[in-house]
Symmetry: C2
Subunit: 334 residues, 2 copies
């Protein structure tokens, strides 16, 4: 096909785009009416409550098209939302996708984006049930709403942490923040770090295993840096916490960069965003069970601190002296 005859967004139009997307969506039993009516109709499983979350991703704020392959961008757009359902101990079920598209955006970009989005959806048995499409006068804007379900007794909130609980985190911290930092400085980034930034894996199975075994008392996903995100658990649980710097799980790729400027790098592991790991608290008596449970899921898990009754969240160096993080998690507007 010659470039001039390649279909464009203007040629297929709004309804052409919607039908182009909807024909790629597999059917699910819990979707009674999907894309194509004024609203979708879905059925919750008996006894389940509804979990809902939404995220907006803007070009040049949350992503750059020059760094982000459209297929991976599609995957990540849904992954970050699925991560929110995981953090509640929920089962992700349905998603809505809204796209504000610059008219000059190649249709191939949109096709790849949608393919990535639907691949992530299929991996987690999430049905795309609706959305909105419109033209954008500036960059690409993406809005994703995710819905999930869980029985009331298994829903994990930020508010359940108790003093003396252990603070745990899955996977490794800081990889995505380090990759972003290196990209911004124009440095070459290794594949494994880049993967953590561009194609994060929401920890759904680990979260479900934890809640099904009644192991966690509170949970959050690490999107703004573990220090800020554990801070939300502390706030809502009316507790504090002490995080041990030496215990933060760091990847081999991340450790390679520690020698240069360890304080900065530590701040990335503590305060960098987009890890999409789980941070959770559990009773000390559950230590072995937590480790076993995560081993079965094939997910690394690390104890990084302890919940305190005093309201402050502190970080300590290996020698017991306080570490001054001098930073907070990512915060828009400030």
């Amino acid at each position: 096909m010659t470039p001039s005859s390649a279909p464009t967004l203007a040629k297929i139009g709004e309804f052409g785009l919607i039908s182009r997307i909807s024909t790629c969506v597999p059917s699910y039993e819990n979707v009674i009416t999907g894309i194509g009516d004024d609203a979708s109709v879905t059925a919750l499983s008996p006894g389940m409550q509804l979990l809902t979350s939404t995220d907006m991703l803007l070009e040049d704020v949350h992503f750059r098209r020059s760094w982000h392959d459209p297929l991976l961008l599609g995957r990540k757009s849904l992954a970050v939302s699925i991560s929110d359902i995981a953090a509640m101990g929920g089962i992700p079920r349905w998603a809505l996708l809204s796209l504000a598209l610059p008219p000059a955006l190649p249709l191939a970009f949109i096709d790849d984006f949608v393919r990535g989005f639907l691949a992530m959806a299929t991996e987690h048995r999430v049905a795309l049930i609706g959305g909105d499409t419109c033209s954008s006068r500036s960059g690409l804007a993406i809005s994703v709403t995710i819905m999930g379900e869980q029985s009331p007794s298994r829903i994990l909130r930020r508010s359940g942490a108790k003093p003396d609980d252990d603070i745990w985190v899955t996977g490794t911290l800081g990889d995505a923040a380090l990759a972003l930092n290196m990209l911004e400085k124009g440095e070459t980034v290794s594949e494994d770090l880049l993967h953590r930034l561009l194609d994060p894996s929401p920890r759904v199975s680990a979260a479900l295993a934890l809640t099904e075994a009644c192991l966690a008392t509170a949970m959050i996903d690490v999107s703004d840096g573990v220090l800020a995100d554990y801070g939300h658990i502390a706030d809502l649980s009316s507790v504090g916490g002490c995080l041990n710097l030496a215990d933060l799980p760091l990847s081999p790729a991340f450790r390679k960069h520690m020698s240069a400027d360890s304080a900065t790098v530590c701040r990335m592991a503590l305060c960098g965003g987009e890890d999409y790991e789980l941070c959770f608290t559990a009773r000390p008596a559950m230590r072995e069970k937590v480790a076993e449970c995560m081993k079965k899921c094939g997910i690394a898990v690390t104890r990084i601190g302890i919940v305190t009754s005093s309201p402050e969240v502190t970080v300590v160096n290996p020698d017991g002296t306080p570490f001054n993080s001098q930073a907070e998690g990512f915060n828009h507007f400030t």
Copy 2:
């Protein structure tokens, strides 16, 4: 307070903004966990299915800040989504609001927007249960997701129209399109026309009355012009239709402008967007009951045509000759 000490978005930050909004949200019985966790937790009423829809509104695409008072913009941002739930015969319940905000946007604008959004929410007993906020490098972007519920037998789809059914529409058509057209030409627009464009009323009670009395066979909300929107009913019901131009319900304010260029004005009533009225079909035997039912709701209703078995949707002049609309409903990208 002097302007320099007035709080700004940068001063209060992302979490300040979220808490500023969440403190204004009333509590509802069906909201177990609202704003503040990774996902909201809500409970559907027994036997109900979930209805979901989402809309994106972009500055200078869907609205202009110079025309749209922030309070009315907040009201409309939710109203257009509530209208989608109404079109399914559903009861609106929960909403998510995402805002991409230019950093220079005055906090007073955001406060007024949120006040308008929450006023519309309260009028329809809709709970704001979550959302997202981020900074925008271009204009204001708004994404709203609405959820509602209804028992399976009462959900009204686009697909239920049968040949010989009457085609009905609530309220009047074309007012919003005419107001927009006049604003774009720099003309003075009367209050009543402007109100239809800037502060539409979703027809929730009318839709619920119709479905509770089992009167409608198919329904849609008129957002892209009645010709295009009835076209969706026709497509999904595998029928056609014949609309009578003489029967289109036109407001007195709209009729004032008909003398000038009646064909153009008729196209606005047929093909103009943003009426947010209901277009529905009903068996001819139900004519009196439909009229009575809408009278009880205080909503005007007009029979504008008939469903046909042939697949075309046609429009006829008062003398029976075909009217050439030469236009379609609003379509992004083309």
